[in-house]
Structures are given as C-alpha cells and as structure tokens.
C-alpha cells in the first residue's frame, strides 16, 4: 500500500449501511460545465472569501487530478476563494518534510489513516471545525469518521474511497471457454484448477500478479493477504490484527498467508504470461494484468483503479475487453467482505477560507460536483449524499453495486492502518521474500512481528 493507492477512482465504502439514494445535489445533473450558471445559494453559508487562497497538496497528479480541479470551480466562483492545487507523486515522502520545515500546505489529501496519525503527531495539524464535523456526522458512517479521528479528536473528513476486492478478467475469454464467474471461494479455486487443466502450454496460467512498484514493491501482496484474511477469519480478527491486539504471526494470519499461497506460490496457477511465481515481485503492478489481453492469463486480483491501467483503446465493461467480478467470499450468504482504501482532507491552518473549504469537501455538494466532473471513473465516495445516478463509469457503478449490498462487511486496507515501519516497510518486504525467496508463511509473519514498533 502506498501513494499508489491514493485513488481518485473511488468507490462507495458503505459499511453495514447502505448508501441512501437521495440526491442532495443543488441542481439537476447538468454536465459540470463551468460556464453554465452555477447556483450559488448552497455556498452562502461560507461567506465572501474574495482574494483568499487555499493551497491543496496531494499525491494525485494529472490526468486523474483534472476532475478534482474541475470540481472546485463552483466553490471558487461562488465564494471568491482560489484553490491552488498541487499534485506530487512523491507526496508520501515529501509531506513530512514540508510540515517539519514549516512549509505545510493548507490542506493535504492524506491517503492512509496511519500517515494521518503521524502527521497529527507533529503538532502542526489543525482539528476540523465543528461545521466540517457535523457534515461528516450527517454524510458518513461512524467507521469512516473514525479513520479521520486521532485520540478522540476529529481531524480529517473522508474524500474518496477505492475498493480492492475485485478480480479482473476477459468476458470474451470466459465465454469462449465456457467459464462462469465464480460466486464462492470454492468455485474460484475450482475454476482456477479448470483453467490450469485446459491451458497447458507452459505460458498460460489461470492467475497473473505483480507486486512491483519501485520502492513500494510488495503492497499488492499486502492487499491479497488482507482480502483473504477478511474472508477466512472475519472482521473481528482483522481488526485485532491491524491494531496489533493479536500478533502479526497469529495462526489466523499464517493461515491466510497459506490460503493465498495456494494460488500465488503454485507454479501451475501463476504467473500467466509472465513466468513462474518468482516473477511476481519483479513484475510492475501496472503491467501485471495485461496478459489477460493476449490470453495468457485469465484472472487478476486488483483494485478498482486498475481500470486506468489498461492500454488506451481497451474497453472496460460487462461487454468490453476486460471487466471485473467481486473476489468471492467463502460464504456469500453470510457476509461479503470488501477491502478498500480512501483519502482524507487534513488541514494545517485554521484560516476561515481553509475551514470553509474543509467543510465544503465534506458535503454532499462536493461529492456530486466531483461525480459530474469525472468522466473516466473515480467519483464514488463513502459520502451518503452522493447521487449515484451521476456516475458515468462502469467500474464506479459496479463498485456501488457491490457496496450497497446489505451483506457487505467493509474494512480499510490493513497495511494503511498499521505503523509505517510495518505497513510501508516490513510487511511489503515480507511479501517479496515470501514469493521470491520462497520463505514460509510462519517465517515472514514472525519477521514482521519482530519489527512492530514498541
């Protein structure tokens, strides 16, 4: 997990609650054209902010950043404030330098609750104003509010969210081979076996995977483990694991590693089009799903934002070149676990214009503005005021569908909740050692446990 998971491609993170389908947008769905007359009545409460500037620092760069910049325009033209947006790929490394150097942005979009805690610990962050908090109380679930809360003080409203529990596949290839989308974990494993038996050319495998991402190599592996653990052990154990109430090498966790290993460490099942299981950690995560396009791989577990990694000209949708299905639960009638991520707006200044903007970002108005500005997907958030009819993208719609299921058990990406030394350190390297060096599940989990900060 890393800055790569700061995702604009957001997906509604409903917990046990369903998204209310009530549109709260101030005006009907006209297509976010900045020149069209904007109804400023919704902005009157923010007052006149003419001549002020709010700097926003994020990991989201163009083109993904364009809908964000577009979605701020209503706020800018109605209040008179200017939003200075800055995207930086090295955000997660540079934010602490800027904060400590006395050069903090007004607002940072923080992609991980763990990082949020670290930034609050610097003493430079400012708690959210009451108006922002009441917006969050109104539009977000308790769980989402809790991610933005440090030691009982509420700091940061959730912005977008992304979902990880998806398996990408080619509907055409499935149809050609007569494969069905599996609905339980057992069916998934049966399908895996079936594909392996049907395609025995040494190159084609059922699954393809890639953990590679430069200095962040390994995070894809942590997502796998989190997804599987939530399925094999359930939400309660998952929470104990992320909060270190149970050790990292608890038998339940080792078991999740072994369950995952049944796929990822079996050379009959991986790594389609890319080699054997030792290539997993050296394959860039953005390229890892591409063998699906040339038929050497059939299944690729990766988050919703992978929709943006397909080459230009690839259609994404139920009838397209590629599509995704929900990574099956062990017993979908009981619960449908979903692992996801999200980002949060943390302020380092309490100037009125900054507080006004924070409050606006936590409103249903902004969630809908962003949905209108987003054409390429990535406009879902956990905001209950989001009008889902505004979503244009198939992946967004799928995500909402998944999440509005009343059996959904949502959990935040576990490595994002752990201390950085583990969540952005030894957990990542453990996934690499586990695949490339064939270290056992016990060995790598014990190694991670030994590095957990006191």
């Amino acid at each position: 997990m890393s800055r790569n998971l700061v995702r604009t491609i957001a997906v509604a993170g409903a917990t046990a609650l369903t998204l209310s389908m009530v549109a709260c947008s101030s005006d009907g769905g006209d297509a976010g054209d900045a020149s069209s007359s904007i109804d400023c009545s919704a902005f009157s409460s923010y007052g006149d902010l003419s001549g002020t500037e709010v700097s926003v620092y994020t990991a989201i760069v163009s083109p993904e950043a364009d809908p964000y910049i577009e979605s701020f325009k209503a706020f800018e033209s109605c209040t008179g404030a200017t939003i200075v947006y800055e995207g930086d790929k090295a955000f997660s490394e540079q934010i602490s330098v800027r904060v400590q150097g006395g050069n903090a942005p007004d607002i940072a979009f923080v992609p991980q609750p763990g990082m949020l805690q670290t930034l609050v610990a610097t003493g430079e962050a400012v708690a959210a104003p009451a108006e922002t908090e009441s917006n969050v109380d109104e539009y977000f679930s308790e769980d989402w509010k809790a991610y933005g809360t440090v030691d009982g003080t509420f700091y940061a409203a959730p912005l977008g969210a992304s979902v990880k529990s998806l398996v990408w596949y080619s509907p055409q290839a499935f149809a050609d081979n007569g494969y069905e989308v599996p609905t339980t974990w057992d069916e998934l494993m049966t399908l895996t076996e079936q594909i392996a038996a049907d395609h025995n050319d040494g190159l084609t495998k059922p699954w393809c995977a890639g953990f590679g991402d430069g200095a962040s190599t390994g995070w894809v592996g942590t997502d796998w483990i989190e997804d599987v653990l939530l399925r094999t052990a359930g939400g309660e154990t998952y929470d104990q694991w992320t909060s270190h109430e149970i050790p990292f090498n608890d038998p339940a966790v080792v078991d999740a590693f072994d369950t995952t290993g049944a796929i990822l460490k079996n050379d009959d099942y991986v790594n389609g089009g890319l080699g054997d299981h030792k290539t997993i950690s050296s394959t860039a995560f953005v390229d890892a799903g591409l063998p699906i396009l040339d038929g050497t791989c059939y299944l690729h577990r990766q988050a919703s934002f992978y929709a943006n990694s397909w080459p230009e000209g690839t259609t994404v949708g139920p009838d397209g070149d590629v599509w995704a299905f929900y990574l099956p639960a062990t017993d979908p009638d009981q619960a449908k676990p979903v692992v996801g991520g999200g980002d949060f707006a943390l302020a380092f200044s309490d100037r009125p214009e900054v507080q006004a903007f924070q409050t606006y970002l936590a409103s249903a108005d902004w969630a809908n503005e962003r949905a209108k500005a987003t054409t390429a997907g990535g406009a879902v958030s956990a905001n209950k005021g989001l009008d889902t009819d505004l979503l244009t993208n198939e992946v967004d719609k799928l995500s909402v569908e998944m999440l509005t299921d009343d059996k959904t058990v949502f959990r935040f990406d576990g490595s994002d909740l752990m201390p950085s030394a583990v969540g952005a350190g030894t957990f990542w390297t453990a996934m690499v050692d586990w695949t490339t060096e064939d270290k056992s599940s016990e060995e790598v989990t014990t190694q991670v446990e030994s590095t957990w900060p006191a």
């Binding site: 790569n4 993904e64 860039a284 943006n308």
Partner: protein, 309 residues
C-alpha cells in the same frame, strides 16, 4: 587498464578544438592521427555498449503504445511501425499547463544555479590553492568531504531557515540550495586544476606588480577555464535534471516547477506510460546535449603550453 594505448602523433588537431588554442606546433600542419586497430575496436565496442540502450529508448519513443510492451524495440527493423503520437502527447501534456512554461522555469532555475556555485567556488578554490592562511588544509578537506551529506537531511533545516528570512516560495530558495549542494564538488574540482598551474606564472605576475586579486582575474581564471567549464557542464546537468530540490522548495505548479516535474507527471498517478516517458526523456535531453557540445570548445589543448619557458 589495458596496455593498448594508441600512438598518437602530435599534430592532428580536431577542428573543433582550434578556436582559442594558442599552441606551438611541433610539426606543422595537420597530420592524420594514427592509432592501432585494436584501440579502434575497443573504442567502437565501448561506444556501442554505451549507445545501444539509448538507441533502444529513442526507437521506443517512436513506437505505438501497444507495441512497446508486447515486442522488443529491435523488431522495428523487420517490421517498421512508427508514430509521432508519443511526442505530440508529451508536448501537449496533460491538464491546462503547457510544456513551454516548465521549460522556461527550468532555464530560470538552472542558469543561476550553475553560475552561483561556479563563481563562489572559483574564489574559494583559488584561496585554498594559493593563499596562505591558518587551517586552510583542514578547511579544504572539510569542504570536499561534505559531498557525502545526503541532501535529504538538509531539506528541513534549510526550509526552516528560508521561512525565517522570508524567502520561502521564491526562486532564491532553489538557487541557494543548489549552490550549497554544488559547492563541495565545485571547490574540489577547481582546486585541483588551479593548484596545478605553474607557480612560475604566478610568481612572474607578482614580480610584475600584480596583487593576488589581479593574479586571480588575469592569470588563474583564464587558465582554469577548462576546469571551470567542465564543472559548469556538470552543475548545469545536475540542476537541469533535478526533481527533488525544486519540488520541495518550489512545489509542482506550472508557475514555478521545472521540466523534470512535467516529465515525471506525464504518466499520471500510476501506470508505466513508457511511451510517454521515453518521448519525454528525449525532449528534456536536448538542452543538456547542446550545452555539452557548445562547451566542448573550452576543452582546449595546451593552454599553458608555451607559457612556461
């Protein structure tokens, strides 16, 4: 080291070296250089190994996106398929900012960031080499040893300082930072050349009544030109290709950020947009290569030759 060193006859002077070289010639007009066949083979081998990867990137930058990740770049020789789309897309960029802005920013950042350390280090190098003052050796060692400091550890203290004196967010932060980071190596490189100058020259000038400042301006600077020029090239390259310093002190907006920021953002938040990155890499390479070629003329042979009798 190989023992195969070519026999180079004096004379044959490459045309691009002729400007400004005051050379006394042993045997007149340009005779052809001869070198052993083996040396030629070695040179061609090195040049090939050094160039092929880059040629691969050049070819890649003209290939359609889909081809790049499915077949090797060498397959174009068998079935050529070229496009200018990558360059068009890299030049037009994403979002609202044009590449020209970033290009100008790069120049505005790089030129002072090159000249500052050049001038300040030239002064210091002369001081360390030719002035007598207590502790000069230790100070000199300390200065060049500071090359080891990873610049990441200096970012926070520098930023706090810039904030305290009220220049945060201006180009001065980047100019000063690059100067500080460049100084240890600049002093080290120039000292090396200035120290090598024939003492007889300096003495002769002093006897003629020149004070040390005049010696510095009239003798040391002209004679140390090759060293200063070569360091200038490198400092230019490092600042031109720097991403971190400008990102930290100036940020990534089109108002102030250099070309490297633009290139790094071509591929979006994620995605290995090889097709864009390869085109972008070549676009940003143009200026440094031109600078190298222009500066070549300062690498003149035997500037001091003939001065020592």
């Amino acid at each position: 080291m190989s023992a195969m060193v070519p026999v180079v006859e004096a004379g044959g002077r490459a045309p691009e070296l002729s400007s400004g070289a005051r050379r006394r010639r042993g045997n007149g007009a340009a005779t052809r250089t001869t070198s052993s066949p083996l040396a030629t083979v070695v040179a061609i081998l090195i040049a090939t190994v050094w160039t092929v990867p880059t040629i691969g990137l050049l070819i890649t930058s003209f290939r359609p996106q889909r081809d790049i990740s499915t077949s090797g770049w060498w397959t174009v020789f068998a079935n050529p398929d070229f496009t200018l789309d990558n360059y068009a897309q890299a030049l037009s960029g994403s979002g609202s900012s044009s590449m020209l802005d970033f290009f100008v920013n790069s120049l505005v950042i790089t030129i002072p960031s090159t000249l500052f350390p050049l001038a300040i280090a030239a002064l210091a190098a002369y001081g360390f080499a030719w002035l007598q003052f207590p502790g000069r050796q230790w100070l000199f060692v300390a200065v060049f040893a500071l090359q080891i400091v990873p610049l990441q550890v200096t970012l926070v203290p520098l930023m706090q300082m810039y904030g305290a004196i009220g220049i945060d967010g201006t180009y001065w932060t980047v100019w000063i930072s690059h100067t500080i980071f460049g100084l240890p190596l600049a002093v080290f490189m120039m000292f090396n050349s200035i120290r090598e100058l024939p003492p007889a020259l300096i003495e002769a000038a002093t006897i003629d009544g020149a004070n040390p400042v005049q010696v510095f301006l009239r003798i040391v600077l002209p004679l140390a030109t090759p060293a200063i020029a070569s360091y200038g090239i490198f400092q230019f390259l490092w600042t031109w290709n720097d991403l971190l310093v400008s990102m930290v002190f100036l940020g990534g907006s089109a108002r102030v950020a250099p070309l490297t920021v633009y290139i790094s953002q071509l591929s979006g938040s994620r995605g290995s947009a090889w097709y864009l990155l390869s085109a972008g890499a070549f676009i940003s390479m143009v200026i440094p290569v031109v600078v190298f070629l222009v500066m070549q003329r300062y690498f003149v042979r035997g500037l001091t030759a003939g001065a020592v009798k």
